[in-house]
């Protein structure tokens, strides 16, 4: 579904990533790790088409990113759920409306979805916060709301960028558990994190592969960290 073929990405000056190849198989669970500034976020952006590689080829669901127009990008984002490090919401809408926003913009608002929405909010533990406005949420609640929003369209892939960056250990375990549950439902998961403890704790629950960005290259880290 997401295929990177020998890609490179460089900013104005230097090269950030080079010779990166990856094929995300359906149902797989990947961690992406590496030091700060090594290009984890850039890598994720390449994976959902927010950036185009400066060399090589990225294919999303069989389509070359360079040949996709804005309309195609919009459609792709409905198939890839993204949880950002600094999750942004529409601050004037309630949590419930924010989580349902992908449905709203896709004109898939229906009564049936309404009960799904309620279930989803309960699942991420925000059932009681449904009417709150995003600025009233704590860091952990924001991350969970972002996760709920990322999965409401029932995407095939969920990409998460440091989803546990601003939350305590207990909350990060809870988020991880939600992502593991999603993976068990058949979703492909890719989590960028620099938190090795998180990766270690995931090993007990899921067959996860760990990718490490080091020296501009992407390496498959050993099974044991």
């Amino acid at each position: 579904m997401i295929e990177l073929d020998n890609i490179a990405y460089s900013y104005g000056g230097g090269e950030l990533l080079s010779e990166v190849s990856l094929k995300l198989a359906p149902g797989s669970f990947h961690f992406l790790t590496g030091p700060s500034g090594s290009g984890k976020t850039t890598f994720l952006k390449l994976c959902y088409g927010a950036l185009s590689p400066t060399a090589g080829q990225v294919q999303l669901f069989g389509k070359d990113v360079r040949e996709m127009d804005r309309e195609d990008h919009a459609m792709t984002r409905r198939q890839i759920g993204v949880v950002h490090q600094d999750c942004q919401f529409l601050d004037h809408l309630s949590v419930r409306e924010n989580v349902a926003l992908p449905l709203t913009v896709a004109s898939k608002d229906s009564l049936e979805q309404h009960s799904n929405l309620k279930e989803l909010l309960t699942w991420v533990g925000l059932g009681h916060r449904a009417s709150a406005l995003p600025p009233e949420l704590s860091g952990g609640e924001r991350q969970r709301a972002a996760l709920a929003r990322a999965v409401i369209m029932s995407p095939d892939v969920v990409l998460a960028d440091e989803p546990t960056g601003n939350v305590d250990w207990e909350m990060s375990q809870r988020l991880l558990q939600l992502l593991v549950e999603l993976n068990k439902m058949g979703k492909t998961i890719l989590i960028a994190t620099h938190d090795l403890n998180l990766i270690r704790s995931a090993k007990h629950h899921v067959q996860a592969r760990v990718l490490r960005i080091s020296g501009r290259k992407l390496q498959l880290a050993g099974a044991d960290l």
Binding site: A50, A74, T76, R77, H84, Q88, L93, L101, T104, M153
Partner: protein, 300 residues
């Protein structure tokens, strides 16, 4: 992208889509005000155009169909020359009737200038003959030649000499009115574009969030376009109503037929007013659509 902006969904609206863009009180009020003020001005420009158009037509119609023959002759020849002139005139194709004015009629024509007590009999007043043309009109040059031969004292005045510049002036006035309407429309488009750009810039975060979760450009644009179109429509409706009321209140004096007092709407002219808010809506729709497309195109 334009196919997404279809008109019916724009008017029907989508309550959810409307909520996506946060309400902005200030630009909303500015847009309403600008549209209203512009519509108010348009009403007057339109009234000016229509009134000068009517004036030009009226002058044209009333004066084109009649001309005057003036006979200056020694008193003893006057009757003979008048009779000869009438014979020539009635025999000319394109003239439906010719009639010599009576002494009383001539006196009443002169009264405004010389007073009612003018001793007309003792003065060498030329005889006037009123000529009414048919639709086709007559050949002025040919008639002049014939009159020259048979009625040497006759001077034909078909009014074109002074009618033309008046008609031209009225026409220019009407043109100015339409130019003013065009400029007002363009200024409205400019103002709404500025307001829309401000709203789009202020909502940059909203737009990026919407793009992120898979909203199409057309969906985002529609949320803005709909809002500005409705605002312009509403503002212009109020402005037009106020303008129409102001025109309605203008004192009218039909008989004296002055130009300023003729400034108003008649018949279908009132129906034209209904077009002003619609046009403002169209202008806002196009201007906001272009602004939204431009802004969205610059985003990744």
């Amino acid at each position: 992208m334009s196919k997404g902006l279809n008109l019916s969904s724009l008017i029907m609206g989508d309550a959810q889509a409307d909520r996506v863009v946060p309400p902005t009180g200030f630009t909303a009020r500015l847009t309403l005000f600008a549209a209203g003020a512009m519509a108010f001005l348009t009403v007057f420009a339109l009234a000016l155009s229509l009134a000068s158009g009517r004036l030009a037509t009226r002058w044209g119609d009333e004066l084109a169909q009649s001309s005057t023959l003036r006979i200056s002759a020694p008193e003893e020849q006057m009757a003979a020359q008048t009779a000869a002139a009438l014979t020539v005139l009635t025999g000319t194709p394109g003239i439906s009737s010719a009639r010599a004015l009576s002494v009383d009629e001539q006196r009443s024509l002169l009264a405004p200038w010389f007073g009612p007590d003018l001793p007309l009999d003792s003065l060498p007043i030329p005889q006037l003959i009123e000529i009414v043309e048919t639709e086709e009109g007559y050949d002025g040059a040919g008639l002049r030649l014939r009159l020259q031969a048979e009625v040497p004292g006759a001077v034909l005045d078909d009014h074109t000499r002074w009618r033309r510049p008046l008609e031209r002036a009225a026409g220019r006035l009407r043109l100015l009115g339409w130019i003013a309407i065009g400029l007002i429309g363009a200024a409205t488009a400019a103002m709404i574009t500025l307001a829309a750009n401000a709203a789009l810039a202020a909502n940059a975060q909203v737009i990026s969030v919407l793009r992120l979760i898979g909203a199409r450009d057309s969906y985002i644009a529609r949320a803005f376009v709909r809002r500005f179109t409705l605002r312009a429509l509403m503002g212009a409706a109020v402005g037009t109503a106020l303008g129409a009321f102001a025109v309605f209140l203008l004192p009218s004096a039909h008989e004296s037929g002055g130009f300023l007092t003729g400034l108003g709407f008649q018949g279908l002219g009132w129906a034209l007013l209904a077009l002003i808010p619609l046009l403002a809506g169209v202008v806002a729709y196009v201007a906001t659509g272009a602004a939204a497309r431009r802004t969205l195109g610059e985003l990744t």
